[in-house]
């Protein structure tokens, strides 16, 4: 079956300020089904954020192509919403105007005005419409940022460690919120994370990546049903399996260096 989102032999090289070429992604093939929750996991330098930026269209691959719905990705568009670790709310706009930004630039605000309040409620920010980002907590800002990305009904939501800066408690709440939104809006979500637990809790498919060379090491299908129990034996087994893959790759690396 042909995937909804496809990475075909995608390579990405960056040139540093010193003129060195750094290989950020060395040949990735990946297929993602519509409606899947996919987590990209791995240590820093494994190319997971690069993959997300390429899919968003913020960078272009050095080699290979990415397709979404059989259309080649060339530039950013509202069909792929993006949420960063930093909420990146526009500080000069209040929460209401931040969330309606996408509708306004697409000239849809007139006909879909009532969506704004709906999405504000969806992420639990009712009553904070007139607040400015600096007046809200990190978790609230991240939820506003999520609403801002969701309101345009993207086909895929790309999440680059969106919960990384939150405390453990807020983080667990947000994870449940993400699952709820995904179910309600029926969208494909692709999330970059450092946290193995988070990946096993959320994903239908976990893409484990390793650095030097930055590539996909293993793809794990998670067969657990939602909602998931963090103490389920299968949950624990999957977590240790992923840790082993990551750890193993790390050890191999050390050997390589000593030679």
């Amino acid at each position: 079956m042909v995937g909804y989102i496809r990475f075909e032999g995608v390579k990405k090289n960056f040139v540093t300020l010193e003129g060195e070429t750094v290989n950020a992604l060395s040949g990735v093939d990946l297929e993602i089904k519509k409606g899947d929750f996919v987590c990209l996991i791995g240590p820093s330098g494994c190319g997971k954020s690069t993959m997300l930026r390429l899919l968003a269209g913020l960078d272009t691959p050095t080699e290979g192509s990415i397709f979404i719905n059989d259309t080649k990705v060339t530039k950013p568009n509202y069909d792929r919403g993006l949420v960063f670790q930093d909420p990146n709310l526009f500080p000069w706009l209040n929460i209401y105007d931040n969330i309606s930004f996408g509708l306004k630039v697409r000239k849809l605000f007139g006909e879909r005005k009532k969506d704004v309040n709906e999405f504000i409620e969806l992420v639990g920010l009712k009553g904070f419409e007139k607040s400015f980002p600096h007046q809200l907590s990190g978790g609230m800002c991240q939820r506003a940022s999520l609403a801002r990305a969701l309101i345009g009904h993207p086909q895929a939501l790309l999440l680059d460690e969106p919960l990384g800066a939150l405390d453990a408690f807020t983080r667990m709440n947000m994870q449940d919120e993400l699952l709820r939104i995904k179910k309600e809006q029926d969208m494909t979500m692709i999330m970059v994370t450092h946290d193995v637990d988070e990946a096993v809790y959320l994903a239908d498919k976990i893409v484990v990546m390793t650095p030097r060379p930055a590539k996909i090491e293993s793809i794990i299908d998670v067969k657990l049903s939602q909602p998931r129990d963090r103490n389920n034996p299968e949950f624990i087994r999957l977590r240790s399996e992923i840790l082993q893959i990551l750890d193993f790759a790390g050890k191999e690396k050390e050997v390589e260096y000593t030679i």
Binding site: A56, G57, F84, D86, F90, V105, A149
Partner: protein
């Protein structure tokens, strides 16, 4: 204690009135047609108490904790009145200072009243010159700043020009401008324009280049196109820096205005001060300086009011 504080301006004003009306003037000073200083003190006192009582009333009514308690400025007003009282004493009453350069306060404030027609005409001329120059400089500075901030080609061609011509003090252009422009008023507007243009351009473009790239990236994933990125992301994000440029530019424009009015203007408040100095009419010089201070204070206050409105989203904005 608070009651006493509230009464301080009244006491100070009474003392000033007694000195002004009961102590005889020195014969070395020119007579003034009216005791303008005594009038002014009376007006200031009445206005102060009306304002303070209204403020105290509104504080009581709203029940909110006010920024400042009622009669917060009482000590200051009393002190200021005392200062002018002493000044009145050492000038017109005792003639301890050179009478030519330190005229009586009656005549200084009298000049504002008796010469009001000419002064108003001068204010009109200065304001129209200032508005022409500032608007011109602002539009040019703003558009160049945006161009340089967003376009590499524009930066390539314009940056050297901005860096080379910008630092020249605007008044140094006078000899060239007198040749280029047939009308002195156009030359004057140009000087003011240059002094506004430079800081506005530099701080607009640097403000735009310092905008977090992720704001642009986020906006493009939300469907923003080029024009949105300029006017919905770049410009609002750079606003704090743009206002800094505007503030510098406006302050520079005051200097430029005063200088510009000395190169062959027929009217204008800078011209007025200069002309009165040449006539050795120092009471009118001081009157002119008071007008300048009030005028520029109002302009800067207006600028800050606009800024507070536009930059309300910022944390901890500097208060004027």
């Amino acid at each position: 204690m608070n009651k006493l504080k509230a009464l301080l301006p009244l006491i100070s004003a009474a003392a000033a009135e007694i000195v002004a009306l009961a102590v005889p003037d020195s014969s070395l000073h020119q007579k003034s047609a009216h005791p303008y200083f005594a009038y002014l003190i009376a007006i200031v006192t009445v206005v102060y108490y009306i304002a303070a009582i209204l403020y105290a009333h509104s504080v009581k009514k709203s029940g909110k904790v006010p920024d400042n308690p009622p009669f917060y400025r009482a000590t200051f007003v009393a002190g200021a009145v005392l200062f002018f009282n002493l000044l009145n004493l050492v000038t017109v009453k005792l003639a301890l200072l050179p009478t030519l350069y330190f005229p009586s306060l009656d005549r200084v404030f009298g000049a504002l009243v008796e010469d009001r027609e000419l002064i108003l005409k001068c204010i009109g001329f200065s304001l129209s010159l200032l508005i022409k120059g500032v608007l011109g400089g602002l539009i040019l500075g703003f558009s160049m700043g945006i161009a340089v901030g967003f376009s590499k080609t524009a930066a390539y061609w314009m940056n050297p020009i901005i860096r080379f011509l910008g630092p020249i003090p605007s008044t140094a252009w006078i000899p060239v401008l007198l040749v280029l422009f047939s009308k002195a008023s156009s030359a004057s507007a140009f000087i003011i324009g240059i002094s506004v243009w430079f800081p506005t351009t530099v701080l607009t473009s640097s403000g735009i280049s310092n905008v977090k790239n992720s704001y642009f990236e986020v906006s493009s994933t939300l469907g923003a196109k080029g024009i949105h990125k300029i006017f919905k992301i770049g410009v609002p994000a750079a606003m704090p820096s743009i206002f800094l440029g505007l503030f510098n530019g406006i302050c520079g424009s005051f200097v430029a205005l005063m200088t510009a009015e000395m190169i062959g203007a027929k009217y204008g408040i800078g011209w007025y001060v200069n002309w009165q100095k040449d006539m050795m009419a120092y009471s009118n010089v001081y009157a002119g300086l008071i007008v300048i201070a009030v005028l520029f204070y109002l302009i800067i206050t207006l600028l800050f009011k606009v800024r507070d409105k536009v930059l309300g989203w910022q944390k901890g904005v500097i208060k004027w």
